[in-house]
Symmetry: C2
Subunit: 642 residues, 2 copies
Amino acid sequence: MPTPNSSMNPTQVNFNSPRKFRTTLKSKCKETFFPDDPFRQFKNEKPLGKAKKTLQYFVPIFEWLPQYNLKMFRFDLLAGITITSLAIPQGISYAKLAEIPPIIGLYSSFVPALVYAILGSSKHVAVGTVAACSLLIADTIGSKVSSKDDPTLYLHLVFTAAFITGVFQAALGFLRLGILVDFLSHSTITGFMGGTAIIICLQQLKGLLGVSHFTTKTDVVSVLHAVFKNRNEWKWETAVVGMAFLVFLLFTRYLRQRKPKLFWVSAMAPMVVVVLGCLLAYFTRDSKYSIQTVGKLHKGLNPISIEYLNFDAEYLPYTLKAGIITGIIALAEGIAIGRSFAIMNNEQVDGNKEMIAFGFMNIVGSCFSCYLTTGPFSKTAVNYNSGCKTAASNLVMAIGMMLTLLFLAPLFSYTPLVALSAIIMSAMLGLIKYEEAYHLFKVDKFDFCICLAAFFGVAFITMDMGLMISVALALLRALLYVARPAACKLGKLPDSTLYRDTEQYAEASGPPGILAIQLGSPIYYANGNYIRERILRWIRNDEGNGKAVKHVLLDLTGVTSIDTTGIETLAEVLRILEVKHIKMKIVNPRLDVLEKMMKSKFVDKIGKESIFLCMEDAVEASYDFSATTEKQGFEEQRSGVA
Amino acid sequence: MPTPNSSMNPTQVNFNSPRKFRTTLKSKCKETFFPDDPFRQFKNEKPLGKAKKTLQYFVPIFEWLPQYNLKMFRFDLLAGITITSLAIPQGISYAKLAEIPPIIGLYSSFVPALVYAILGSSKHVAVGTVAACSLLIADTIGSKVSSKDDPTLYLHLVFTAAFITGVFQAALGFLRLGILVDFLSHSTITGFMGGTAIIICLQQLKGLLGVSHFTTKTDVVSVLHAVFKNRNEWKWETAVVGMAFLVFLLFTRYLRQRKPKLFWVSAMAPMVVVVLGCLLAYFTRDSKYSIQTVGKLHKGLNPISIEYLNFDAEYLPYTLKAGIITGIIALAEGIAIGRSFAIMNNEQVDGNKEMIAFGFMNIVGSCFSCYLTTGPFSKTAVNYNSGCKTAASNLVMAIGMMLTLLFLAPLFSYTPLVALSAIIMSAMLGLIKYEEAYHLFKVDKFDFCICLAAFFGVAFITMDMGLMISVALALLRALLYVARPAACKLGKLPDSTLYRDTEQYAEASGPPGILAIQLGSPIYYANGNYIRERILRWIRNDEGNGKAVKHVLLDLTGVTSIDTTGIETLAEVLRILEVKHIKMKIVNPRLDVLEKMMKSKFVDKIGKESIFLCMEDAVEASYDFSATTEKQGFEEQRSGVA
């Protein structure tokens, strides 16, 4: 491009021969599966050091234990005791949601917590069960086997689902497919959690009102119908006690919001409710005001359950479905939580490594009478606020839980169901994030729709349908992003060398005779047609406004990649423009794009002299040649008529 | 940004208040559904003119008929006769593929051609049946109802599938969902067509070898197994005749490739083969060398079949599946062909309008004993080469077909099956595009994989599975494009003001203390985590190499849109960088992105003074402030320690 101004930008487009396939494949695989470059620390190590670092990488306890000291332990001990006091009531409550014996809930805070303390890389995550997944398991497994008619088989299927979850999570981690979890968007999770909270709260009306006949369905309509159909079973005594507990719990939550330092009050409150409830139930046990309790809880540690895992083909579809869906949700929750607390402390969490830890936790757990566990938000937040320093707080919780199981379990058999309902309700009410939904509404309407779809889907259809509809909408949007990339017309800003979107900067105006277009996002099969139509539409518009277009300049700065259909599209546009006697020029193609243009001979078709490094050069060149071009175009037209 | 150099680029980022939701929604819907702006011609019209143009828009015959003249008719007549001579053998052959009576194939070139002549907007498309869809219909419907045991029910279900195809196609067109067809990539179609051609060719061994026992499966293994299992049925007479026909047909095809002007030889060749075959069969009919023929063909036009449409719930899943899958394939073929010939003539085809035309063609066709029709490649190419000027050539073909049905049909009952097999094989061999696959391999390995998946899926599993695997792979790629956007590190080119990818331009090097990053493609939930990790990795790398990073400059020129998760990601990065005492600056945010940043208060967080119109300004500003910044950072650090 021997233009007068080229001295200003002496560097030309780099037409070096394309990189080898192996090089590009390697770099792409790295970006896809190892974006956080987890092995960078091994690079300059000797074999022994490498082995040590590898062990530390896969078993993080070896990383922090050597530096562990008494001062750290003091913090972890306090945090561990606090989360234990939360784990007991939550464990019992969520086990009731999953329709399994309450003791399983206690078991699930013992073995998995031990495993996570060894393998987990987050310092703040506290292991425990979660309400949404508990309900989802009950919903999925319960659609095949009734927890009332065949509780043993049902329980074994729940263990099996946890085992499948574990294998699935560990496999995702080993295959570095953390990318899958990225496709559960924040909007989906907000909506899903909100919807789940609503249906779980409504379900608690059963315990709160003391109704004994109820529905197994989870949607709002069925649940409300069941509540009001059995009006005659309502008991005012339970209702009064339940409301009192609920008000107390909500008050402590409110207190925490006002004075964050009092977080321990709300952390201890469920335990207080359980103890009060136990006392109440114990003293009224023979009176006419007796209230329903959870029933027998045996002393003793987790029995081994590996022989109960049931992979019968008849039940496998249900356990697989429950295992995989809850596995993804549990990962999304656990990893997101771990990450957000790590960011607060300027640390890094390797999502894929966490998946492996969660996976092993569930595999081992399912062999020791535990069901699905993850790092739930509420418990982790309490752990963080209690000042935990390492995963040792989980160890403390495990020991606390062990002592409870060995000595105190029978005491909790007096826990009234209504107390559990109050605990669950107060936890769930905190998961409905109005402000978040409003924020989505204000900033991005499509995100808001994705959130609403999850919310209403969960509330009115089923939990898994709600989730899937929302994920499908989010994927649709991702595809629309690429199918309809935002292209814009560029104009020159007055008194500068910058070319910017004419819609955004009204003062920018195109050089006469030149149509400068900036294409964004990859050009490929799904948007090839669109891009061609869009470019032709701009030409028609300009011509319709009486402006002759002589040159079309395509700025490819924003085009990160192109496929064969994309290149064919550009070749087609080139052909159409040639017929119209319009010259096409390419500005600043990126590495990947230029390589494919060279491999497919597009560069030969358009000519190297038509590819520029910046818009300014391309415009200059257009003016230099335009006199010649016009003459040539005119002559071609004449010969066409002749 | 009061930098000394700001006089060079006096315009600042435009912080006007965001556009209204209605405005953006309208513009996005327009880009999504009306990218070709089909109603632009109505804009400056009076009501009467508008009505006329609307009629012409929806019924294109009103557009071209008034200007029609004898000279055009001469061309259309010739083209019409040529395609009629192709339509008769192809119609009979493909009807055999679909396992329906051969006469249906003739009917299908009569009524649908009439409808398309009225509604179709392409000048070159010639209506007819297609091999791939015929086989797919046989495969899908045949899996429920056997064409041998219950031919009447089978035929009615085929009509029903065509009706469903029509409704589906018309609905897509009315809803302007042409975008769906864009998701069938060129690579998928190449592989699918190749795989289909292979299995159809192998199936023709049945006719060519005169085997009467055969399999209904379509995959290569089953078909070859059936051919060789029935070795004892092979007849050398048919094989010889068949090979002779095939060689003749392939020779005419070769001739056309060498001398494109002789295209009519290859267009007429199938008819010649049929006539020769009929003569042969007629004269050997009572000898011991008698060959199998298609059997009775009755005189008469299409009988009405609307009362046979069968929407029984038992068969509906099969007819729906057949109708929708073949509908999409037929659209992809018909529209792509129409478009590519229109581009050659510098005309425009409205994909959504074509869908409506194809849809009505199939709806009306299914009511008059026709099965699925579209604009097949071979016939359309012949039509174009014969010099057709308007859709009137379809009208000529319809009349030719009417005459055939009324007077000549019985003559074709002597058509030998082996002649049909030879015609189908020669047509199919042309659909295997080795060079295209090789081109894909050279330019884009992933596209090649998509193509291979379709090819082997169709050849070794089933047609629909092959298609779906390939489409899924292509979608996966589209999602990967957005989940792992190519970001790059920018450096300043020596002696210029340009910042370019340091990997692409080795001579580009970053200004010291500044990390300039160009992000491509939308930032949203599926790539938020990746982008954060990527930015942090660059910072770590630079710091690892002993270069302190003081400023991170994010060039958002290539970021066409952002969602709430994306903005949160940027806010997170900002927070992390603040902890590290690194300043973050945003360069050239596009309209959509800036609007969302303002709505979500991100602009307030980062400060308007940290958003720049071009990289140059941002770098200047970094240097101006860097002295202050360093001091400030130092003080912050000190107070942090205290």
